[in-house]
Structure formats: structure tokens, C-alpha cells
Amino acid sequence: MKSEPLSYLGKDGGPWEIFTEQIDRVIPYLGRLAPLAESLKRPKRVLIVDVPIHMDDGTVAHFEGYRVHHNTARGPAKGGVRYHPEVTLSEVMALAAWMTIKNAAVGLPYGGGKGGIRVDPRKLSSHELERLTRRYTSEIGTFLGPDRDIPAPDVNTGEREMAWMMDTFSMNVGRTVPGVVTGKPIALGGSLGRRDATGRGVFVTAAAAAAKIGLPIEGSRVILQGFGNVGNAAARIFHDHGARVIAVQDHTGTIYHEAGIDPYDLSRYVAEMGGVRGYPKAEPLPSPEFWAIPTEFLIPAALEKQITEHNAWRIQAKILAEGANGPTTPAADDILQEKGVLVVPDVIANAGGVTVSYFEWVQDFNSYFWTEEEINARLERVLRNAFEAVWQMAEEKKISLRTAAYVVAATRVLEARALRGLYP
């Protein structure tokens, strides 16, 4: 029986519609599981909450909060919480669904979830933010728990917010529950290796792709867009493995040095100056020229939709590993495929963060904490396995790694769904 469209979304489906279109595109590859794909187009639960708080001036302000569990066939829901004035339900639903896909593609025992509050956090004082976070946590409390739903940081939330959430949840249930959120400070049960996790994952998956096409890391060239947490770590780890970082672009400008830039030295410069512009040991370059630099690896690690049909045709890299979420538009994807650029998609390339979140949650269960070496070795193993499964699928079905990642993920989710059956 054909199901009705979701009544609670308006005519303009927004990001959620993009997700359901993506699912439609992989249905032909799902074989006997295809009839179950409808369940991916229906979020399991959607919660909208009013979050009233006392402002510092004594007035009461109301904010709109969301928490969505997209799918829990493979385990408890997992996904971040973002604070942004433009957050919509459709966006949170889509982000939750993408977490389902990412967690399944990597092979983590999680479903997908996401949450958010429509708020501009820069307009709130730290006390107001704390009250907002605590009230939101209480309102969605019955949804949360280490075996139900585990939030994490996202846009405009970080260690501080996670600590408040952990404390609020723990006080409400009457005992300390560190495993209810990840991305906590180390002192509250956070994990080592978190800071570099996403950048390390970019390196691991890019290196796995390079091994498949016989490209050595040693002596290869790397260019990065973005030198924040992800780009910085990826640059250092490539450098440590004998690669040469020859260009970096950020919001302040583009720098280039054919003989190689020392990312450790650049990090110190950026920490002081706020950007790469004016770095003395490299030459400045007009920003549009960045994309045309001859290189082996290109790492977009900044914002979404950076690689479009306008610049994709200039790209000379052999491997493009997506450190950012959605940096490549579908039109650019087609051009890159035609040019033979191997694209390692965001779903697995930037999954290092959620993987270490997973490790944090495992450690919290046991209250037994691993060394950074143990974490890095396990991260590498998880992501290599993830890449290998996606690569095999791409070879088998003659499809891109991006499509293959979706096929692998959807197959895993629906397989679990089929095994669990329809309750009751």
C-alpha cells in the first residue's frame, strides 16, 4: 500500500526532501530490501518542544526546540544538537536521517538522531545559554539516555553544552550518567583523541583510497580548503606520513608553497593571526586559483557547496576526500566522475568524529578509559573496514563511492529492520 506523505511538513519539503530523493536514487540497488525503503522516509519520532527561559533582564523568552529520532533499527539514536536561528524541523529531520546513513555506513551500532534550537546563541549571555540548554535537556529528557538517544556537539554547541546536558540529565534521573552525551570534557568522561578524530579519519580513508589506485602517500601533494579543527589535523597527519602540504585556503586567503608548508608551524601562525593570510613561509595566491593547483589530494574541510559546476572542471587532484559535510554539489559530482577524480564521500571521509564519539560512549559504559594509541588504532580499523565495504559495493555495482556508501548504509539499516520484523 502506498503511504501518505508526511502531513506535518509543509509543501516545501526543504532538506528532508533532498534526503528522500537520495533514498529514491539508491532503491534500485537494494534488491529484496527495496520494499522496506519506505521506512527510511518516515522518521520514527519527531519531538517539538517549547523552551521558555528567564532572560537576564527578568523577562521570559520562548525558543523552539526539536529532537528527531530518524531510525533506531541498528541501535539507539545518535546525533548532534545545533543552536542556530535558521534551524527548521525539516532540516533537523534530514540531519537525523543523514546520521542514520553515516552510522550505518561506518558500521556503528547506532540509529540516527538530531536536535536543535532556533536561537542565535551570540545574542544570549552564558547564563542564558546554560538555562536554555538545561531546560531543553529536561524537555527532551524522556527521549534521552545512553540506550535510547545520545546527543553530541554540532553547530554552535561544544564541550560546555555537553557538560550541562550531562549534568541536567544526571540530576533528573538521580545518578551520574556520562554516556547520555558524547563530546564531553575529559574530566567528565570525554575521550582522548577527539580533537583530531575527524582529521585523522579524513587521512585514513583518503590513504585507503590511495592504496586502491596505487598512489603512495610519501612524497604526494596535498591541498586543503579550511584550516580549522579538521583541516589542521588532516594536514598534520598527512605531513607526518611524508606527504607535502603545498596549499591552504581559508576565509582570510590562500597560500601556496610548492616545496611544502609545515602545518605545525602554520598552526602556530593561524592561532596567533586568526587565518593563513600573510603567512611568511608561503606565497599568496588569488583564491579562485586554489582549485586548479596540480596535486594528488584535495581536502575540502570548510563549508558545504564549495565545489560546484563552476570550479569542478579545473580540479586536477587524483583523490578528493570530503572533510566537510556536503562540499560537492551533485552537478560537480558528475563533472568529477567524468574527469576521473576519485571522490571519497563525506559519509565515510569525515566519520572520524562520530567514531570517537562511539568510543567515548563505550568507555563511559565501562568507566574504563583507553589510551590515545588504543583509540587511534581502533579508529583506523573501523574506518578502513568502512571504506573497504563501500569500495567493494562500488566495484560490484559499478557505481560511485558516494552512491555505494548510501547503498551499504541503507542495506545495513533495512537488513536490521527486516530481521527485527514489524512490532508487535
Partner: protein
């Protein structure tokens, strides 16, 4: 019967067999009377009526059971059997046997067993699902990863375990893979589970051959029963360099003096349900000139008559209660080594334990890690059973039973009687 004990309403079957073994072991092991009282009375026997809407719209009511025998050493653990012959007495006996098996392997579990009196082949898949879900729902307050953990047994498989996990999880409101073991890999099952029972038998044989100086490479083996246990054992035995010369099913025996191509035979059996050919009757397997006989079929498979024809140096009881007591007495008198079910048949339980541990942590091991931990536990169990048997100057069954009862005795004493 000297011990005052629980009496099942009908068909005491395996429960009596357990009591007999218990009583016999009390002659050699020092067990406090309180422990004996506990073990002679299952902690909890549950009978549930299971109404199921059949595909034709009619409602049929099935009888379900769950027995928790003892929890002194940890949460109860045991399989779920779907078979027309399931009774309360049989379930109680199997539960008690799980208590002992977990203690032999030093796993932190008590013993349980459950089942439904039903022929699952007579149900459609949808009916089987509804039956499983209703059974789980009826027990939902009595089971859980720290209360009673279910697992597969005769007539139940990975899919049934997945339904149990889903029903339990939906009812309590959170995903709880650890309530049941033997799940598919996609839902928190463990690596190395599919062949765990056979792998366990092979590891036991390997460890014993090293301890007791028995031949291994090139030694000849006959395997009775070619199901889940017998088939995977044959593969691992071949990998260890043993020569599998005969395998049998209820239809007959396939025999090849220079050794069978195990993999090809297994493939053929999996595809057709038949062995490639039948050279001998099922019973003639027992009389073959071999070093080892593996009993991997049903209980009571080897009786005294079969035992008299036996040429093997050792009999490994992979199925529970594989030998009759008369057959065992005869073989021990002749100096044949009998490796008891509590030791030989522990592989499935051991794999279940490793799965449960991984589920509690939600952190999953590689196949090598599972195999390593598995092999270590088998080696430890074999060493401890042998040591106990030697200390008592007795056979391995006596050693295994005494070891288990002493461990249960210690746990029961330390916990005391509540309240």
C-alpha cells in the same frame, strides 16, 4: 531418590537424569546440604499460555515454558526450544544442565531453559513470528540482560532471536541486544558464532590430546550427527589434521577409510539435506576402527549394545546426555575415555557469553579476538576438569560435575539465604 527434590507434573525425563547425576557426585564432592537443596529445586518455573492468531483467522493457544534453575553465579542463561516434545520436566532438566555447564566453564551465569510445545515446521513464518513475540511479551518482566538471557536451541534460529530482541526492546523502550544471544551479526551478534559449537568440540579434543598424550595429526574420527555441531566440528577437525573417516545422519553412515573430503560433503549436505552416499547403517558407525567417536546427535544415542562394539579410544559427548549410563559404565570399565557433555558441549554457551559481553559494552571484537578468548576459556576448562578428575582419581564426567558443584557451593555459601 534420596534427595528431597522438586517433582515435575509429568515426564520427569531430563530432570531425573540431572538428579541422578547430582546424587552420584555427592559421594565424591563435599557439597553443603543447603546447596543441594537449592539445586534440587529450580528457582522459578513459569508456564504461559500463548494465544496466536493463525493465518486463517482462528486463534490457537500454545503452551510455553521458562525455567530458571539457579542464579547463584549470575543471571540465568539458556536456550529456547520450539519442539512438540517440550515439557516442563524436560525444560527443568535442561536448565539445571545449563547451571552446571556455566560453572564448568567458570562463566558468570546461572542456568535456565525455555520452550514452546510446537512443531515450528507446521507454522507459517508470520505465525512463527507472532508466537515468538507473544512468548517474549509474556516473559518480559522475567527476562533481561541482567536477569535471564535467552538463546537459540532446537527449532529456533537467528531470526527467532532477532524477534525476541525486537519485542523486548520495543516493550521496555530502548534497544537491548544483550537480552538474547545467537542474534544475527547485524543486531549485535558475535563473530565466530556460527561454528562455535563445533569449534568448541575441536578445541576440547586438541587440549585433551596434548594433556593426555593422545594422537592428533592423522588420527581417525567418526562423527555421529551432521547438523550444526557435527558439521562444523568435522571442518575444524580436518583443519587440525585429523582424518574424518565417517559421518552419519539418521539415514545412514558415509564411510571412507582414507578420510572424507569434509568440505565437499558439508556443501552437499547443506544443499540437499542428504549425505552424498550411505555406505553403512547409522548404528554401524559405532563399530568402525577409529581413534575418536564424536556424539553430536540426540540424547541417549549410544547405548550399551553400541558401546560393546566400540573400537575408539575416546568418546566425546558433544550432544547433551549422548551416552546412556549403562553405556558409560561399560566403556569406563574397558578403559575408554569418555569426555562428558558438560565439557565437550560448552562451545555454544561460551560464544553466547562472549556475545553478551560485547552487547553490554556495545563494542565488538574482531574474529581473531573472539577466537583467542574462546580458545583460552576452553583450555582453562579442560585443564580444570582434568585436574579435578585426577585429584578425585575419577573419570572426566565426575571431575566436571564435582568442579561445577564445588563452584556452585562456594557461590551459594557466600551469598547466603535471602532475606
Amino acid at each position: 531418590m534420596a534427595i528431597p527434590a522438586y517433582r515435575p507434573p509429568e515426564d520427569p525425563g531430563l530432570w531425573d537424569a540431572f538428579l541422578e547425576r547430582l546424587e552420584k557426585t555427592l559421594k565424591v564432592a563435599e557439597i553443603h546440604p543447603t546447596t543441594v537443596e537449592y539445586l534440587a529445586h529450580p528457582k522459578r518455573l513459569v508456564t504461559v499460555s500463548l494465544p496466536v492468531v493463525m493465518d486463517d483467522g482462528k486463534v490457537r493457544v500454545f503452551q510455553g515454558y521458562r525455567v530458571v534453575h539457579d542464579i547463584a553465579r549470575g543471571p540465568a542463561k539458556g536456550g529456547v526450544r520450539f519442539h512438540p516434545g517440550v515439557t516442563l520436566g524436560q525444560t527443568a532438566g535442561l536448565a539445571a544442565w545449563m547451571t552446571l555447564k556455566a560453572a564448568v566453564y567458570d562463566l558468570p551465569f546461572g542456568g535456565a531453559a525455555g520452550g514452546v510445545a510446537v512443531d515450528p515446521r507446521g507454522l507459517s513464518k508470520r505465525e512463527l513470528e507472532r508466537l515468538t513475540r507473544r512468548y517474549t511479551a509474556e516473559l518480559v518482566n522475567l527476562i533481561g540482560p541482567d536477569i535471564d538471557i535467552l538463546g537459540p536451541d532446537v527449532g529456533t534460529d537467528q531470526q527467532v532471536m532477532a524477534w525476541i530482541m525486537d519485542t523486548y526492546s520495543m516493550t521496555v523502550g530502548s534497544t537491548v541486544p544483550g537480552v538474547v544471544t545467537g542474534k544475527p551479526h547485524a543486531l549485535g551478534g558475535t563473530e565466530g558464532r556460527d561454528d562455535a559449537a563445533g569449534y568448541g568440540v575441536a578445541r576440547v579434543l586438541l587440549e585433551l590430546s596434548q594433556r593426555r598424550g593422545l594422537p592428533l595429526r592423522g588420527a581417525r574420527v567418526a562423527v555421529q550427527g551432521f547438523g550444526q555441531v557435527g558439521g562444523t566440528f568435522a571442518l575444524h577437525a580436518a583443519a587440525l589434521g585429523l582424518k574424518v573417516v565417517a559421518v552419519s545422519t539418521s539415514r545412514g553412515t558415509m564411510y571412507q577409510e582414507e578420510g572424507l573430503p569434509v568440505e565437499a560433503v558439508l556443501r552437499h549436505y547443506e544443499a540437499t539435506g542428504e549425505l552424498p552416499r550411505y555406505d553403512l547403517s547409522p548404528e554401524e558407525l559405532f563399530a568402525l576402527p577409529v581413534d575418536y567417536l564424536i556424539l553430536a546427535a540426540l540424547e541417549g544415542a549410544l547405548d550399551e549394545e553400541g558401546a560393546k562394539a566400540l573400537q575408539a579410544k575416546a568418546v566425546l559427548e558433544a550432544a547433551n546426555f549422548g551416552l546412556t549410563q549403562e553405556a558409560e559404565a561399560y566403556l569406563l570399565g574397558k578403559g575408554v575415555m569418555v569426555v562428558p557433555d558438560l565439557l565437550t558441549g560448552g562451545g555454544g554457551l561460551l560464544a553466547s557469553y562472549l556475545e553478551w559481553v560485547q552487547d553490554l559494552n556495545m563494542f565488538f571484537w574482531s574474529e581473531e579476538e573472539v577466537r583467542q578468548s574462546f580458545a583460552k576459556s576452553v583450555a582453562k576448562a579442560v585443564a580444570e576438569v582434568c585436574a579435578k578428575a585426577e585429584a578425585l582419581n575419577g573419570d572426566l564426567r565426575t571431575g566436571a560435575l564435582a568442579l561445577a558443584l564445588e563452584r556452585l557451593n562456594e557461590a551459594t555459601r557466600l551469598r547466603g539465604v535471602y532475606p
